[in-house]
Symmetry: C2
Subunit: 92 residues, 2 copies
């Protein structure tokens, strides 16, 4: 999957990301990957559900993966943060 098909979910309003996904899918790509870390994980699930239920009902969740990423703070200490990847695909 090319980097262009990835939507990184951060702290902006949910609808910003919903629009990003819908715009991306409308370029004709077959799938979009949502990626989020930490507290943005809940928002990523919201984005997937809103896109699927309200805007593009022909999309389905292809796969969901969770993982742990190590982050280094500005002070140099390491901490672990959970991450999620949700793949949305067009149904055949």
């Amino acid at each position: 999957m090319s980097d262009e098909n990835i939507v990184y979910i951060g702290n902006k309003p949910v609808m910003n990301y919903v629009l990003a996904v819908v715009t991306q899918m409308n370029t004709g790509v077959p799938e979009v990957m949502l990626k989020a870390r930490g507290r943005a994980i809940s928002r990523a699930v919201d984005v997937a559900e809103i896109v699927r239920n309200r805007f593009m009902t022909d999309l389905e969740v292809g796969s969901i993966d969770i993982s742990t990423e190590e982050m280094t703070s500005r002070e140099g200490s390491n901490s672990n943060v959970s991450a999620i990847e949700i793949k949305l695909c067009k149904t055949e």
Copy 2:
């Protein structure tokens, strides 16, 4: 899956739920389901990752499902909230 194998993730500290999952698995059940809604979704992912990486490395994520649930507030209005279900299973 019986109700006893479900751990509902709310707003308590993550370690409370980690302990609940480890305790549940140690009773001999083959799998535990984590369920969370709304902002607790991020915490559910944290719980799954901490249990798997630090306490019970023989566990794997069996399945992850996301959905939308309709909630009725005390005032009677409806709103939608995202939900997640993470199944943790013993590896063979």
